[in-house]
Amino acid sequence: MELNLMTQKEILRIENLKTYFDTWAGIVKAVDGVSLDVREGETLGLVGESGSGKSVTALSILGIVPRPGKIMDGRIIYKGQNLVEKTENELQKIRGKEIGYIFQDPATSLNPVFSVADQLTEVIRRHQTVTKKEALEKAIELFRLVDIPDPEIKIWNFPHQLSGGMKQRMAVARALSCQPSLLLADEPTTNLDVTIQAQILQLMKNLKNSLGMSMILITHDMGVVAGVADRITVLYAGRVCETADTKTIFYSPRHPYTKALLTAVPSLVLKKEKLEVIPGSIPNLIEPPSGCRFHPRCEYAQTKCAKKIPPLVEIEPGHYVACIRASEIEIKSPLGAEANE
């Protein structure tokens, strides 16, 4: 399985992406040198706290970073084409058709004054040469695909008539309407209840396998990525900390931030007297800390950490870490005991 993943062709490669927001308070370096890759048929989990640049990375891929944000540097290579150099017209042919996007909040990403049918057929008619009637039939078919009961009736509803779970299903249906090869899912289950979240995750997993697409799953919930992702990239303050396959991230993380993220989650399995805490809070991205951006909160930090920006180094095949002390320090995973099973 792992060997198989290594040899698979990559569908998307991001190299040294820099997306800055020029605000009145200064330049916010939301994404500052992110590199990652997604291979065909795999799910990449993009994990980090709020403000770590997860969403901005995804928005940069489609070139829809809201103003005043701008891609300053870097390359985004999708199937051999550099998306950063494309014109707006060329990008419009890729958005929705080649790359689907599920937005963070289903309630605000749907237009309240159009019926669900209008919003679904819009995407289909934009990218495919079909009549109105055929588009509607396709939309109903999609509704059936995402397990919405009575699709013929529900499709004429307006967004406010649907529950949160239904809206998210509708958003999934819209993203899948043109059978994209890459799906970007930005916190698809954050606003949903656990039982509904379980339904949606199950649905996305099944659809991804049956349609054979790749997916970038953006989330802050370590529990969600553990069940869905094949590989994980951990972001902190606009930079990549660590990239590896899911098992490695959970059982033998090498970056102190990855470990801190894992220990801060209250566990259902182990009951602890006191939760371990990452001291301090996320740095201000206008004047980020020098050197390694995590060093002010890092328990292993030394003076050299503040001086040099740690490069992303491949320490094992497929395991990249951006920490200059990665080889010196020993990090124990909170799940460590089960690793050798």
Partner: protein, 331 residues
């Protein structure tokens, strides 16, 4: 009434009327059954958790207990005093006394702080209202409170927008603690915070409980934080309790089918452990016309076995203070 129990809630009901949109005549066309007859008691100095999905009546329960929205029927006793009677008597002094005992930390720290007041104003406002601290000690008290929740002195002159979510939640907690309450209702205090900050706030709540011996009513939809902080947990579904038990008991041997499904649907941060997941079909029914009989019946995997549709199951103690409302389990 036994003297041991700190907070007792008996058969609490909260219905919200639905009225037509008329200017002069407003007809009542229906009722939202937000909370439908729940009873529980909390021991002093412990944390009682209220868990359930959105729309199941957790927040309505909390607001009804505090008489922020007076309950439709039912009684609430705080230290053997009938909360309802005091509010009905409209005796201002007594109401103030009662409010001092019960405080609320709201769900969203971005919406529950007045943007035009400094932190000092926010935290000293309860002192001004209740006058339980002499005026010359207000500032000392302010700095004590800031220290207690882990903020610095210089934060006092700042405005809420200058703070992060975790810091705002600390301000909210300091404001609630200003009147030295005995009961603190925390309504999803960490729902809008990041994981690393979430751990900080949960630890703070625990420390405060040990230091000040406060009783918490902790409301959440996140079972993993509930496991961490609560002594006893009640699981709510559509306005009713389906199961109440000690935390460990509930997490180790859940009995109600809904509790089992809820526990199994929490994603576990471990890629190897694969727990059999019970994915519930459908969604929570509308509280305007809740199902007759057992409210969980339409989504239940074991339904029809014991005529769940006809009779609403009662909460039955099956030993160890573990209460379940399911005829199949209790049989």
């Amino acid at each position: 009434m036994s003297k041991k129990l700190f907070l007792e809630v008996e058969n609490l009901v909260k219905h919200f009327p639905i009225r037509t949109r008329g200017i002069f005549i407003k007809k009542q066309v229906g009722v939202i059954h937000a909370v439908d007859g729940i009873s529980f008691s909390v021991k002093k100095g412990t944390t009682f958790g209220l868990v359930g999905e959105s729309g199941c009546g957790k927040t309505s329960t909390a607001r009804a207990i505090l008489y922020l929205d007076p309950p439709t029927s039912g009684r609430v006793y705080l230290e053997d005093k009938d909360v309802g009677e005091i509010f009905v008597s409209k005796n201002k002094n007594e109401i103030l006394q009662l409010r001092r005992k019960m405080q609320y930390v709201f769900q969203n720290p971005y919406a529950s702080l007045d943007p035009r007041m400094t932190v000092a104003d926010i935290i000293m406002e309860p002192l001004m209202i209740h006058r339980h601290v002499p005026k010359n000690e207000w500032h000392n008290r302010l700095y004590e409170l800031l220290e207690l929740v882990g903020l610095e002195d210089y934060h006092a002159e700042r405005y809420p927008h200058e703070f992060s979510g975790g810091q705002r939640q600390r301000i909210c907690i300091a404001r609630a603690l200003a009147v030295e309450p005995k009961l603190l209702i925390a309504d999803e205090p960490v729902a809008s915070l990041d994981v690393s900050v979430r751990a900080q706030i949960l630890n703070l709540l625990r420390e405060l409980q040990q230091k000040l011996k406060i009783t918490y009513l902790y409301i959440s939809h996140d079972l993993s934080t509930v496991r961490h902080i609560c002594h006893k947990v009640a699981v709510m579904y559509l306005g009713r309790f389906v199961e109440i038990a000690e935390t460990d008991e509930l997490f180790n041997s859940p009995l109600h089918p809904y509790t089992q499904a809820l526990l199994s649907s929490i994603p576990i941060p471990d890629p190897v452990t694969e727990i059999p997941r019970i994915v519930l079909p459908g969604e929570v029914p509308s509280p305007i016309n809740p199902p007759e009989g057992c409210r969980f019946e339409p989504r239940c995997v074991h339904k029809n076995e014991h005529a769940c549709v006809e009779k609403a199951p009662k909460l039955i103690d099956i030993g160890n203070g573990h209460l379940v409302a399911c005829d199949r389990v209790c049989k």
